[in-house]
Each structure stands twice: as structure tokens, then as C-alpha cells.
Amino acid sequence: MSNPLARVAVVAMVSLFTSAVQAQSDCGPDRPPCDEPHDGPGCLQPQCCELVCKNDAFCCEVVWDETCVEQAGELCGDVYCPDLGGCLEIHDTGGCLDETCCELVRMHDPFCGYGTWDEICVAEAESWCAGTFECPIVPPPGARAEGEPCYERFNDGCGGGAIEINAETIACGEFIYGKTTTRVPRDVDWFRIPDTRDGPVVVRLQTEFPARMLIVTGSCEGPISVLDRRPVDPCSSDEWVFDLPDGEYHLVVESGADGRSLRSGLPCDEIDPKNPPDDDEEPLPRTYGLHYLLELSCTAVPCPGDLNGDRIVDGVDLGLLFAAWGDCTGVCPADLDGDGTVDGQDLGGLFVGWGDCP
């Protein structure tokens, strides 16, 4: 029915019996795709369907005909999701039925939207679309906050053309409650692994998002190598045990899957005071939570007083000790003598170890 006059007449009649709410319900997964003419109104891709129907109510009230298809071609641009086919099944059209999963995969791999949902798209869907996405982590008492606002970059390794690695320290037995985002540049959190002895290093990571851990050695100018990697599914936790030969290593926590980095879906949830959003700016959709809990278990080469694990006892450690002054429970690295109180004895112990660690 491509005659414009006929379309107007039919719409006028049908409109008497339909409502906008009903029209919107004709957009969705139970309808055929928007780029195919078909019996009945509406089509599969809600965003595209609504765009077309806003322009031409006939398409959502009578039938999705060739004219609607033409309008979809003109109006829908990058609207590819959802589309026919399971997200975990290879199929020869773009997109898949789970809209959230489809959008997440195609944001990283546009071919999955406009091309075909091939084995690479399926692998990405398996990595990123499984699990429950709402699983807020409650940090245990004594966990240290990572301390990097998501609009800053303090511990991003060699990011930003850094000459020296920017990293935080993590001590054996310490918990880090951290956050990572895909704000550009994407956030990666680097932790210097302390020198250890007597056995392996054990890392436990609980995460709200698809995460991966990397063991990195080297320097920013080069060579720099990722020695090993371990992905952790969203809303799960994992334990990674490894031995490291002598040397300097960093543990990196970032969003991603095996072999791939996640570069969208985790927008920053803080306001950058230097660049606040406009009042009418809508927040970006977030697919996952942003937090992780990292625990490091290992036996450090003794270095009394090195509270931040940077292998030197200095004013930073002194400041940390004063900050912890008094009674302490749980994880309390400043309590050097383990008597439950940070006091003058611990201060003396710190001064005894002043300088480079052995």
C-alpha cells in the first residue's frame, strides 16, 4: 500500500480505534525486522520502529510496508539492536535478540551490528553478556579505597605517555576497594606487587564488571610485557595463584575479557569539578557496576616500617603510621609489633628500618 492518499485515509480510520500506547507496543522482539516489509504494524527494533512511526503513524497503526522500510533505511542509521538470532549463536545477520547484549557487543565491534553475528561476536557475547549485572560489592572493614576519582588518572601505568610507571602499592594481606571506568581514556589500575618470599602470590578479585587481571613486567619506554592474564566474569570472584621470579612486577586490574579490553558501558559516576555535565545532559547508560575488591595474599620480604610497600621506609610511611595512631583492629599494617595499638613502639620500629628495604 504505497499510494499516499490511501495511506492517509486508512490511518485516519484506524486512528479512531488505536492509541499511541498501542502503537508503541507494536515495536519489539515479537515483530519482524524493520528492514523487511511485513504484514501488520511495527517492527523488531524499538528505537528504529519509534523513529519511523513518529514520522509516519501508518507504520505502527496499519502495516509495515515498503515505505516504512524506506524510512527505516533513512532514519535508523546506527540502530542495529536488537535483531533476530540468539546472542550466543552464530547467524548470518547483524545484531541479536537481547538488546542490552547486542548493544554492548556492537559498541565494541560494529561489524556485529551491521555485518554478521559471527563467531567473534558470539565470543564477545559470552564474555560480556553472561551473569547478573547488579551485584554491589560491600567492602570489608579495613579495605583501603583505591583513591583515584574516575575523572583522574593516578595509577594508569604508562598511560598518557608516562616515562615512569604510575602505580599504587599493595601490601601482602591488603584489600583494595577499587573502581574502574571506560571513560576516555579508559581507566586501568596498576598495583606494584611487593617483593615476596616463601611461596606463591595469591590474588583474589571480586568484581561487578567483566574484569581481567594482568601481570606486567618492564618499563614504560620498553620493553614492557604482559606475562599472564586472567579474566573474571562480572558478579563473580576468582582466585589466581602464581609464582614470580625475582624482579619488579605490577598487577593490573581493568575491564575486559580474554584478549580484549572493555571500552564502553562503564561511565564515570562522579562529577568532574573541572568539567561538570550540562544540566540537561543525560547520564550515559551503565551496563555493570564499577567496583572491585582486590585482595593480595603473600609473604613479603620483611621490611618493618614499609607501610605502603614501595620498598623504602620514608616520610610517606611515617605519615601513614601517624594516620593510624591509636587502637586498631583488623588489617593494621602500622601496628608493627602486633599489639593492637599503633604507638611509640611502632614509631621506633619504623625509624629502625628507615631507608631502603633489604
Binding site: P33, D35, A72, G73, C76, Y80, D83, D92, T93, G94, D109, P110, F111, Y114, G115, T116, D118, I120, R153, D156, G157, C158, G159, G160, G161, V184, P185, R186, V188, L214, V216, G218, C220, E221, G222, P223, I224, S225, V226, L227, D228, R229, V252, G259, R260, S261, R263
Partner: protein
């Protein structure tokens, strides 16, 4: 690739390079040529050319060579836009085959088996990842037949394909590179070398987005150690964008070094050198040396070869927007000859000029046993053959076939209108800053939209892009 050789002769032939007027062969259809490979494909004794390109109709071109005269390009159907081609006898039948990297998000290799007379079979596809832009053919597992390492631009994954000796390929373990980077790594070029001199073929990949030369050591069986990523030499503190690499023994110390073009925003483009320190184990690259490549345009492509017959490796650099071809004379005095062995190049000499020389190659095309220059011009859709007329140390060379009047190529005024709006480039690798790396990434896109690759042909059964829905 230029192999390592024992080099010892003094540099007595150093001097200005002389090149004859170029033979310019224009491709018969809009081709956006990207790369040229050279080998004798019709068994007539002359090296022929195969020109890859971002051709929307899925063609590449064979340019026959007869005694140094390049003929009319012959169409080769590859099934997609191609950024790279390698020539090797993949199936062991004694004839050279062609292997193209098809630059598509439905990534694949396109293999054309040679019949030895300059003709080829219909293409066969080997599926890869996202937008393969380069590959290298070499014996990676030490079994004597040529294997393939193929590089995906949009996935930081090198795919390893082991040859069964007949041109059938089995997949090895993928190699992931530049994982610790904040920005997209965007690998762009790949080659092999034996950097640790243990007798097997290692890989080196230039990841433009990460601005790293990633060296990947072979364990000897085609499995690989984790990549070791090196930044290029900084120029006035700036990290340059790398789009290409050359391999050869530029300091004549017996091991293979790397050279890379460096695209900079605040300085003229340079040629960066990674000198192989020859560590007894592992890799030791020294990165102190970089040399101005031009005051014009952006250094994009590099090749190494001995242009003046003094037995060291000179460099040819192709530039973009505008696009001079510059030659840099190697003046390194090797340690074996009492020098300090530190790589030294003379200031660049212009030997050609157009708009965007996207690839350069050095080979003897006219059979006079000196090294000529091939340059691929992206925008004017052509390949330039620059015959070398430079006096050679070896008197038997350089005065053979070509008898043209020797003179330096006259520099031409580069066309105007190609100035790049740096502000408009944007942060293409997502690392939070606009640098020469982003400019390099921008230049890599010139010549074709990867999404345009949508024309699989009948002998590509897995092809489904024609069913693209919008």
C-alpha cells in the same frame, strides 16, 4: 625484508644519490594502492610487481616487468580491499603464490595459487579476525615450509597459521600484543627477524595506536613468548606515530636492527632506529637514534637497501601530504672498522615527490645489479619505479641495462590542499591525548572505508556481507 649480512667494506662510494626519471604506472581503475611486492612471477627472469590496494571492486594488480620496462597492469581478483600482499610458494609446487590481507571487518586472507606463468587460480579464503592489514610469510615452526603470521588491526591479536607443506593451514595459538596499553593498540605492520640470533624466526609488530614496536620471541616451534613492547626514540620528548618498519643490519654488526618512520606533531618527521644490542640472551634494543626524514609531509613508509654499493643499508622513506620520497645515506662506521658502530644517517635527499607515498621498496628491477626504488603513490593511483643511477662501489653494477642520462630527480612542487587540520584529527586511539600517533592513525585510513568491503564473490561461500541489512 633485508636480511642480515656480514658487511665490512669501507663506505667509499658515499655521495649524492642519482636516480633517473621515474617510470610511473597508473592503475587502470581507482585502486588506492597500498603496498607492492616483487618477485619473478612469469619465469622470464625479471621481477614483477603485485600491487595491493583499497580497491572497492576487490582487485589487485600484477604489473609485469620486461627488462626493466613495466607493462600494463593485469587484474587479479582478490575479493576485497587489500592492504598487504606476500609472495611465496605456499603449496610447495615450485610456483610462487600470492597471499593478500583483505582489509575487512570480516577479516580474511585471500590466497591465489600461481601456475608459474604469471597466471593464478581463483582466490581461496582463510578466515581471520577484524580488519587484517598485514601478514608475513616465513617458516615459523622450523619444518621448512612457509607459515603465516597475520595481523588484525582492530583486534590486538596475531593469528598464526602453520602450513602442512601443501598450502593447507592449521591454526596455532594466537599472540596477543600491547595488552597493557590504555589506548587501542591498532597493529599496522608485521615482519619476521631473528632478533636474538637463536636461529628461529621471531616476529615484530608495529602497533600504531600503542606506539610500540612489539617484539615476539619464537620458542622455535612456532609458539611465542609474551610480546615485549618498545616505544620508539623520543624526538624532543615527543612520542612519534609509527606506521611501518624496516629490518636490516644498519650498523653492520651482524644482527638485525629495526627502523621506523616517526610522525610527529611538534617536530619534522624522523626515521627512528632501534639498534639491536646483540644481548647474549633476550632482547636489547637501544633507542637513542633518530634522524630527520624530511621537512615536508609526514614520514609513512620505510625500506632499507644499499643504494650506493658501499655495502651498508641506506634508507628510503615515503612521505604523506605532501609526499616526497627521501633517501638517507648510511654513514655508520662499524666497530669492526674501528668506528663506534653508532647508526648515523646523512640528511635526507629528495628523489621523488607527489602526494602520499604509502609504501616503498628497494630491489633491482632493471637487472643492472644496483638497487632501484619502488614507491606506491596512494592518491595518484600509481606505482613509481625510480631507476638507480648512483655510481656503485662494485664497478660491475649500475651500468648494465639502463643507459639513461644520470641526473638527480628534479624535485617537484607538491600539490597544495593536503594540509591536515590537526585539531580535527581527534583522539583516535582513545588514550586521552591528540599526538602524532593519532595523525599516524588518520593517515592509515586514507584511501578507503573499511566498511565499504561488502562484495564477496561467488567462490566465497562464507560471505554474507551482501546481506547487510542497512
Amino acid at each position: 625484508m633485508v636480511g642480515a649480512t656480514g658487511l665490512s667494506a669501507p663506505a667509499s662510494a658515499d655521495g649524492p644519490f642519482l636516480f633517473g626519471p621515474p617510470q610511473v604506472v597508473t592503475m587502470p581503475t581507482p585502486h588506492s594502492p597500498t603496498m607492492v611486492a616483487v618477485a619473478d612471477l612469469d619465469a622470464d627472469g625479471d621481477p614483477d610487481l603485485v600491487v595491493a590496494g583499497r580497491n572497492s571492486e576487490g582487485f589487485a594488480y600484477l604489473v609485469p616487468n620486461e627488462d626493466g620496462v613495466l607493462g600494463t597492469p593485469v587484474e587479479l581478483v582478490t575479493g576485497g580491499q587489500t592492504d598487504w600482499v606476500e609472495i611465496a610458494d605456499l603449496d610447495g609446487d615450485g610456483h610462487l603464490d600470492l597471499c593478500f590481507a583483505v582489509r575487512s571487518l570480516r577479516g580474511r586472507l585471500s590466497v591465489l595459487r600461481g601456475f608459474g606463468d604469471g597466471t593464478f587460480s581463483e582466490f581461496e579464503e582463510i578466515r581471520l579476525g577484524r580488519e587484517p592489514r598485514a601478514l608475513v610469510v616465513d617458516d615459523l615452526d622450523g619444518d621448512g615450509d612457509p607459515d603465516i603470521a597475520a595481523m588484525n588491526h582492530r583486534l590486538p591479536i596475531i593469528e598464526i597459521l602453520f602450513n602442512d607443506g601443501t598450502g593447507g593451514f592449521a591454526r596455532g595459538a594466537d599472540v596477543v600484543i600491547a595488552e597493557a596499553e590504555v589506548g587501542h593498540p591498532y597493529p599496522q605492520a608485521i615482519d619476521t627477524l631473528d632478533i636474538d640470533r637463536d636461529g628461529d624466526r621471531d616476529l615484530v609488530v608495529v602497533a600504531t595506536g600503542a606506539s610500540r614496536a612489539c617484539v615476539i620471541l619464537n620458542r622455535g616451534d612456532g609458539t611465542f613468548e609474551p610480546d615485549a613492547g618498545w616505544r620508539p626514540p623520543r624526538v624532543s620528548g615527543e612520542i612519534g606515530g609509527m606506521t611501518n618498519l624496516g629490518i636490516g643490519d644498519v650498523d653492520s654488526d651482524g644482527d638485525e636492527d629495526l627502523v621506523v618512520p616517526l610522525i610527529l606533531l611538534d617536530s619534522p618527521s624522523h626515521l627512528g632506529v632501534f639498534e639491536n644490542g646483540g644481548a647474549p640472551s633476550g632482547i636489547e634494543l637501544q633507542r637513542e637514534r633518530a634522524f630527520p626524514a624530511t621537512q615536508l609531509g609526514y614520514a609513512y613508509a620505510v625500506a632499507l637497501g644499499d643504494l650506493d654499493g658501499d655495502e651498508d643499508l641506506d634508507a628510503v622513506v615515503g612521505h604523506a601530504l605532501p609526499g616526497p620520497v627521501m633517501a638517507l645515506d648510511n654513514r655508520t662506521v662499524p666497530v669492526a672498522e674501528g668506528g663506534d658502530g653508532r647508526v648515523t644517517f646523512e640528511p635526507p635527499q629528495q628523489i621523488g615527490s607527489d602526494s602520499f607515498f604509502r609504501a616503498v621498496s628497494i630491489t633491482d628491477l632493471d637487472g643492472d645489479c644496483d638497487q632501484d626504488v619502488l614507491a606506491v603513490e596512494l592518491i595518484s593511483n600509481s606505482v613509481w619505479f625510480l631507476p638507480n643511477l648512483t655510481p656503485q662501489e662494485d664497478s660491475d653494477c649500475g651500468d648494465g641495462f639502463v643507459t639513461r642520462t644520470g641526473r638527480a630527480t628534479t624535485p617537484r612542487n607538491s600539490p597544495s590542499g593536503f594540509a591536515i587540520d590537526r585539531e580535527a584529527i581527534g583522539d583516535l586511539n582513545g588514550d586521552g591525548a591528540v599526538t602524532g600517533v593519532d595523525l599516524a592513525l588518520f593517515l592509515e585510513t586514507v584511501g578507503g572505508d573499511v566498511r565499504a568491503d561488502s562484495s564477496p564473490t561467488s567462490n566465497a561461500p562464507a560471505a554474507t556481507e551482501e546481506r547487510r541489512r542497512r
